[in-house]
């Protein structure tokens, strides 16, 4: 789940009676689980919300390469290096086909990327945290990709066809990344030294809460959820998804022999779910606003890459044009 707090621009969900015939026809298709395709009529707010959501997701894939790029030159074995390189390559691929899905809505990739670089567009808050040890490569794969999958599995049924199909493909690769991440941690815990086991626990301590924040604010503070749910852009609420993630992750945490930095985390037999402590929402909103530990570095790195590469892209275009002219002559 790489989209948080996606604005719908809609104050209140309309009832069918209040809708124009076009809108009603659109909503009835959605209610009947018929996918909306690029050429179909859609309300402008639906289109804009999807552009924001898909671009946020795409930006997250690309920015998400940076915390891993921090360790790919220092991976501790050939096998781990190859795994991490393959994961990073997959993420660049995810970014590309998400931008393509977004472009089917009439948006322009370069314009949306410019919004990322100006700070106008968001990406997942999680990538504003630093990766401080090799164990973070395991913890990111396990927790961050794990949280992403919980959301994306649901988004495979999202109402917009191109986005839904992108999610189906991405989910397969993400679950592979998650298993690899977990295996990195398991190896360190079971076969490693005390220093390595300390690294794993430290990584979990730092990334646990930020991973839970990936699901976005709790339902009562999620003003856009109702409309997104009605459009089936979103299919379950933030709190439902967060609970599912915690429920499936805690047994894995126990298998590792590690603990979560949450003294209130415990099984509630009555609810059939784990109870957990209060998330530090102040921190979440600060990070979203740009005040997290790495926001400035992440955006600056991306902006620099695209600025430094301008002459390369210009050369490619100029060369292609010359070849075309040559062929036409």
């Amino acid at each position: 789940m790489y989209a948080q707090l996606v604005e719908t621009g809609v104050k209140r969900v309309k009832s069918l009676e209040e809708m124009s015939p076009e809108e009603r026809n659109f909503q009835e298709k959605i209610d009947a689980e018929i996918k909306i395709e690029a050429k179909n009529w859609m309300p402008e707010a639906y289109r804009q919300t999807l552009i924001r959501q898909i671009s946020q997701h795409a930006h997250s894939e690309i920015v998400g390469m940076l915390p891993e790029g921090n360790w790919v030159t220092r991976a501790p074995s050939l096998k781990r290096k190859l795994q991490l390189m393959a994961k990073i390559q997959d993420e660049a691929g995810h970014g590309l086909y998400l931008y393509s899905a977004m472009e089917t809505l009439g948006a322009d990739r370069d314009e949306e990327i410019a919004k990322l670089h100006s700070g106008k567009a968001k990406y997942s808050s999680i990538f504003n945290y630093p990766t401080l040890s090799w164990a973070d490569m395991g913890a990111v794969g396990w927790l961050v990709d794990g949280a992403a999958i919980v959301n994306q599995v649901v988004l495979q049924r999202t109402s917009y066809g191109p986005y839904s199909r992108a999610m189906i493909r991405i989910c397969k690769e993400e679950s592979f990344h998650q298993r690899q991440g977990y295996e990195i941690l398991l190896t360190m815990m079971r076969h490693g030294t005390q220093a390595q086991r300390d690294m794993v626990q430290d990584a979990i301590n730092r990334l646990w809460w930020p991973s839970l924040m990936m699901f976005g604010p709790s339902d009562e503070h999620s003003p856009n959820s109702a409309q997104s749910m009605a459009w089936k852009i979103k299919r379950q609420t933030n709190d439902e998804l967060r609970q599912r993630f915690i429920d499936q992750t805690v047994p894995q945490l126990e298998l590792l022999g590690c603990t979560a930095p949450d003294p209130e985390l415990k099984w509630n037999a009555e609810r059939g779910h784990y109870d957990f402590g209060e998330i530090q929402w102040d921190e979440f909103y600060e990070v979203i606003k740009g005040n997290g530990p790495c926001n400035q570095e992440r955006v600056a790195t991306r902006r620099q890459a695209i600025e430094d590469g301008a002459w390369v892209r210009e050369a490619a275009v100029a060369y292609a044009r010359k070849q075309q002219n040559k062929n036409a002559a």
Partner: protein
């Protein structure tokens, strides 16, 4: 005797692929377009995979208890046998692609020779690698053309990149006595065939966009076949080898 000659040759192949792959990892998040993020990492992935195959074979022949990881992560720079070319810093995209192209043209010619090696293990690794490197060479030669024939700026950058790297190409067109003997035994790629194929590929690609071909590089003090590297390799290895060096008892 046979192994004594073969091991340094396997290290030349494996270390060059590894160091080139490591340099490509440094591009992560900094490439000029997302398509290039994908492509640079993809080429790097192929090369590190190939390096693992060569180093595993070298480790078996060495038979001193070290495996491919020990060779990659615990050897000092004086024991590394990679080409001086690939350890050079990435510079701008023109330097990176010129470096890649000069290496690919050599790599492709070497692997073509090795695919017919009398050593079956080498022939097998080379045949698989050749498929990957065929694509690497196509890609990097296309970039040489785009940058050489693109805009005035890209051309100026190519004109600066080529002479900066050219002196290291002497290693691509010369061979040690060791390699000559291995080639005569049908094990290694024939050095004169490699040199001729390399020169033809480079001169054709340069000529296609009117990039001047410098005169043949001459031998100089440093020589990777003797473990005499530029200052850049030590720093590259310090970064790459950090974890296994800092935690010698660890299992990753």
């Amino acid at each position: 005797m046979h192994n004594e000659a073969l091991i340094p040759y396997l290290l030349l192949l494996g270390d060059s692929a590894l160091v080139q792959g490591q340099r490509l990892c440094e591009w992560c998040g900094h490439a000029p377009a997302i398509e290039e993020e994908l492509a640079l990492m993809n080429v790097g992935l192929d090369l590190v995979g190939q390096a693992r195959n060569w180093l595993e074979y070298a480790a078996e022949l060495l038979d001193d208890g070290r495996d491919a990881d020990a060779l990659a992560f615990r050897r000092d720079e004086r024991a590394y046998r990679n080409l001086l070319l690939v350890e050079q810093p990435n510079g701008d995209f023109a330097v990176t692609m010129t470096k890649q192209f000069l290496y690919d043209a050599w790599h492709y010619a070497v692997l073509r020779g090795l695919a017919g090696s009398s050593d079956e293990r080498i022939a097998g690794i080379a045949a698989k690698a050749l498929k990957e490197v065929t694509y690497h060479l196509r890609r990097s030669s296309e970039w040489v053309q785009r940058l050489g024939g693109g805009t005035e700026e890209s051309r100026q950058r190519m004109l600066a990149a080529i002479p900066a790297l050219w002196r290291f190409t002497v290693e691509l067109t010369t061979a040690s006595d060791n390699e000559v003997q291995l080639a005569e035994a049908g094990i290694a790629a024939d050095p004169s065939t490699v040199a001729a194929a390399w020169l033809k590929q480079v001169s054709d690609s340069f000529a296609s966009v009117e990039l001047p071909l410098p005169k043949a590089a001459s031998h100089f003090y440093l020589d990777s076949r003797k473990g005499l590297h530029t200052e850049h390799l030590g720093l590259l290895l310090a970064e790459m080898q950090f974890l296994p060096r800092a935690y010698p008892d660890a299992t990753w």
